[in-house]
Amino acid sequence: MALLEVENLKIEARKDDGTPIPIVKGVSFEVKAGEVVALIGESGSGKTTISLASLAYTKPGLEFCGGEVRLHGEDLLTMEPLKQRDLRGQKVAYLAQSAAATFNPAITIGEQVTESAVLHGILTQEEATKRAEELYVALELPDPDRLGSRYPHQVSGGQLQRLMAAMALVGKPDLLVLDEPTTALDVTTQIEVLKAFKKVIREQGSAAIYVTHDLAVVAQIADHIVVLYSGEVQEQGPVDQIINNPSHDYTRRLMAAVRPTPTAGMSDDDDHGHGRAEAAIAARGITAGYGGIVDGEPAITILRDINVEVERGDVVGVIGESGCGKSTLARVMAGLLPSARGEIVLNGKTLEPALEDRDRDELRQVQFVFQMADTALNPRQYIGDILGRPVEFYLGLKGEDKRRRVLELLDMVELPPAFADRYPAELSGGQKQRINLARALAGNPEVLLCDEVTSALDSIVGANVIKLLTNLRNKTGVSFVFISHDLSTVGSFADKIVVLYAGRVVEQGPTDQVLSPPYHPYTRLLITSVPELRVGWLEDTMKTREAAAGIARGVEITAVGCPFFNRCPIAIPGTCQLETPPVRMHGDGHEIACHHSLDEVEHSEAETQKVLHGYEKAIVDDDSAIKA
């Protein structure tokens, strides 16, 4: 008998007038002991609702309307509320998407991790603390003895995500429900979390339901995949079969939306870049940060001495982990954050650092597209007004002309004209992002600064937005600064890539060249961290020393030396942390900032494939133990 059997599960919401809206329409699947089942689908497919049903819980406003959810053969839905309460956190544990939002900032980590086990009376406080410490070790968290007495803000995001796993596992649950646990993380952090999850799930022998929209992640962790769309199972089967041999249209579509691992030769057309065209916008020697500025040095420096040029009609991708300063760079260009040093040049003309001092036409030419379309659109204005305002503000159009331009903009982002009379809340996430783009395009800008515009979207929706951006670029000739932490998105869209690390440019150049050797050690870490749609990728990657070194330590922002020093596998002690690395030119406009000569960098690349040091050996041993 399977551990959890979901049979013909139906869940409905109700409109104000009482008409039911089916959310989950008769879903059946099962989870065997020790097995990881992935629920995959885009937002709105009901995957979270189904996963919560295994705790006999629905979000407010939803109700169970049929079917059974059996754990150990016992139906949870008809169980008494008190017994349901015993079950939650004890037999079934839930791991929410955002660890940062789940932890209480005012209570120590140890207390929160052990709380549910002690509350349910499974363990005494001492036993729970001891078990938590064992779990910290199993999850490879640093300093396990003292971690419990720290507060959530004192550990990194990836660590917090792993601590949430510890919280769920402390009560030795039979079933773990993980709701998009790595979606909000950087690729490099995602690897460490995935690896820890995989290891701990195998070791503890608990079964798991893994909810996600990312097929590449699923390929690493799941045994069995259930593909959902609109509350119905489209296809289910073992992971190999779904990944290598999908039979359903929708699954294939999901597969198609997974962007391939970045390699050279991906950028689609070359007629835009490489010619020495005039720069549309350029950042020259930009140093910027927060706090009071003394001698051109802000109290907290985020960006240090940045030189980036965006040629007319080009797409420049800016990549790096969160906190590396990529959004700050766009904010400096837009004038939202005046730089402490350096200048922004637009079409050969130096702009004032602060946007208050720029004139309206300069503002019109540089437009900022915010990351979260949910918050970037005023919920109290009609779409027509949201788009109409910049049309009136920048182009001075009124009345019928304004209306015509608004409809033109809607058409440009492939939305029907009727949307002008809707409120933002009446649109889906991808549609809101389109409006967000349309607003930026309203005044016929020269440069569009796109800050992580696809990061909050599902893979299919995100792929569609990228397709739209490509069309817009071809139609309007706008230059893009495209910021993302997702290398594969940038690789498929940008003509030129700028790699930022801890506020400095470590490598930049044409996409083809950045994505082919020689790499800066950090670029290589980023490239190797992008999950591939292939079973066993995670294990293979963990064997590379880039991953090992990169994951072991965190980012430090330094004023001198190479910022990547403490995570670099080929760092030269005594040189790298003290001296600013020279910028080495390689071919046409390809710059790498590294103390190693490019030959050395390339050589170490070849070595990586062969050499295994003690540290990585241990990881490999772990993995073979897991597999056995």
Binding site: S45, S247, F370
Partner: protein, 332 residues
């Protein structure tokens, strides 16, 4: 779920197909606020009192200051004829009322007050004074509070600092004490009452408006307007205020209740609305002595205050429950 192998190279083609799997929409927002049955009842009561405030003097049987009977504290339904025969209050039984007053020319629906005036008429007249003063005072409080509160939130820095500290020092004084001192010093008149109440209650509006303003100011859409080059006036009136309107409106009801109670308290202490003008608060005080004789003359206006304030509260509860707990949290 069968897994038969089909053409494996079809993946790219599928993407370009006509949208068979259209993007799933987010749930549309609920636009209407539906009142529960308590909310509906409450709304009816509030509406009735508002109507009374407008037309009270015309539907009242007597003028608010008119002496109808020679005797005070005549029970509900009593009349002049009854008083000719029965001198002792003990004898004013319901049977006696029916016996003497069934044919009387003038009967008092809710009895008479301590000066022999008609309690019912005074309540109808008083609705105008009580609700009117409170409403105007709350409006002024809102005008001041929102202007300064949003202003402080938007400008920040020293302006915010100074305004907030001044506001907190006024807020730290007990409102009734402050009211008593101001009225005692400046004398009691309706304009003074309105001014005092509005300044006192503007302090709490200031805090709410400032908190809401700060929340909204850091939203991306405000930053987007800022990046577009919009001025302060546009940002306040088009981006911030529309988003603060709902919580502020809900709070308006609650604040109105506090002002009604404040004005009534002042009147009860004798410093509010001055005789012979009818006002519910002062009516409670005037007729307190009647409680000893078993008269309800001070209970009726108290009930009027109670029904109005509780009803407003019920409506506010309904609205904030519908718009989610966040609203209620912000208002505390």
């Amino acid at each position: 779920m069968s897994n038969t192998t089909e053409n494996p190279g079809a993946a790219e083609k599928v993407v370009d197909e006509i949208d068979k799997f259209a993007e799933l929409p987010d749930a549309p927002p609920k636009k209407t606020i539906k009142l529960s049955w308590t909310g509906k009842l409450a709304a009816a009561i509030v509406a009735a009192w508002v109507v009374v405030a407008f037309i009270g003097p015309w539907i009242a049987p007597f003028h608010e200051a008119e002496f109808i009977l020679d005797d005070s504290f005549v029970p509900a339904g009593g009349c002049a004829e009854m008083l000719d025969e029965l001198y002792d209050i003990e004898e004013w039984t319901p049977e006696a009322i029916t016996k003497y007053c069934s044919d009387a020319d003038v009967t008092l629906f809710l009895g008479s007050d301590y000066l022999g005036r008609d309690t019912f008429s005074r309540i109808l007249w008083g609705a105008r004074t009580t609700i009117g003063i409170s409403f105007v005072a709350t409006l002024f409080a809102y005008f001041m509070g929102i202007t300064l509160g949003i202003g402080a939130a938007v400008s920040g820095g020293y302006i915010d600092m100074v305004l907030s500290r001044v506001n907190e020092s006024i807020l730290s004084l007990p409102s009734i004490m402050l009211g008593l001192i101001v009225v005692a010093a400046l004398g009691s008149s309706i304009p003074i009452l309105i001014a005092t109440a509005s300044v006192i209650y503007a302090t709490s509006v200031f805090r709410i408006a400032r908190a809401l303003g700060q929340d909204i100011m850091v939203q991306d859409f405000v930053e987007a307007a800022h990046a577009r080059g919009e001025g302060l006036w546009w940002i306040i009136t088009r981006e911030v205020l529309p988003n603060a309107a709902m919580p502020l409106l809900t709070d308006f009801g609650l604040r109105l209740v506090f002002v009604i109670l404040f004005i009534s308290s002042l009147s009860f202490l004798g410093l509010g609305v001055q005789p012979p003008t009818a006002d519910w608060g002062s009516m409670v005080r005037e007729n307190m002595a009647g409680l000893g004789y078993g008269s309800y003359a001070s209970i009726w206006p108290a009930i009027a205050i109670g029904t109005l304030t509780i009803s407003i509260n019920l409506i506010v509860d309904d609205i904030s429950a519908k718009s989610g707990g966040s609203l209620a949290k912000k208002m505390v």
